[in-house]
């Protein structure tokens, strides 16, 4: 195998770390035989599958980013619970108060992982579902549409997560 460029090596390293973490959690053990097999398998997969991404690939390792990660997790869990109470309220209401629409919102995020996490987060938060993402635009289905205006919708749907993800991934 010819020498790998630095970018490739970093990306393979990030994949390896994620795979190793996954392996240890899957086995629930730190015995040496488990670690050896896991290291061999993870290294093989990280080297063979060259398009691999991992949640660490594009992450920034600044203290601010690590702080933002915790902030993001807390905010996400809060929104997830809120989202379910919202759906419950809609579903249990005899009148079924839905007035849906598909709105277009803007994101500043450039990294692939950041955008994937943003879309997933939006899907799991109150009344919104990412239908498509194209360049810097997200198309979001909104069960109880509150604003058709693009800036207002962006502020309500995207801004909360984006502020964290921007620090984490850029």
């Amino acid at each position: 195998m010819d020498a790998m460029p630095i970018g490739r090596m970093r990306s393979a390293g990030a994949s390896f770390v994620l795979l190793m973490l996954f392996w240890v959690m899957l086995n629930g053990s730190l015995a040496s035989d488990v670690l050896i097999v896991g290291a061999v398998a993870s290294a093989a997969i990280a080297l063979i599958y060259r398009d691999g991404l991992s949640i660490f690939t594009e992450a920034r390792w600044t203290p601010a980013a690590i702080g933002a990660t915790f902030g993001y997790i807390g905010y996400f869990l809060k929104e997830l619970v809120k989202s379910n109470l919202h759906i419950a309220a809609v579903v249990l209401d005899p009148a079924l108060p839905v007035h849906p629409g598909i709105v277009k919102v803007h994101t500043r995020l450039k990294s692939r992982m950041g955008r994937l996490l943003l879309a997933n987060s939006i899907t799991l938060t109150p009344g919104t579902l990412t239908v498509a993402i194209e360049d810097e635009w997200l198309y979001v289905h909104w069960v109880t549409m509150e604003a058709a205006d693009q800036e207002e919708a962006t502020r309500q749907i995207v801004a909360g997560f984006e502020s964290y993800l921007e620090v984490m991934y850029g």
Partner: protein
Amino acid sequence: MAAVLDILGGLLLVAGTTFLLLGGLGLVRMPDVYNRIQAGTKATTLGTLLTLAGAACLHPDWAIKLLLIGLFLLFTNPLSSQVLAHAAHREHVATTPATEVDLLDEETGEEA
């Protein structure tokens, strides 16, 4: 202590399955595919997460593996819903008449 964890675990299990039930109800009541996907994804994700947390309380030594299943679901569940919603939109599945705007239709230039 163990007894408290047991009760907490049982309550979390019931809370989780309650959300699953609400998701099922949403699936039946919601007027079109997109709204059904919304109800389905959100309720099942939180519902399953709570169930997993409940199981972790009942069997603390399983916590790591349950956490792994939860994390896996957090990535796969919304992703499959998004792909499904996108496919439905590409195939022009009608939205409910209550829908106010659909900004995806005219702008992306996907083949009609």
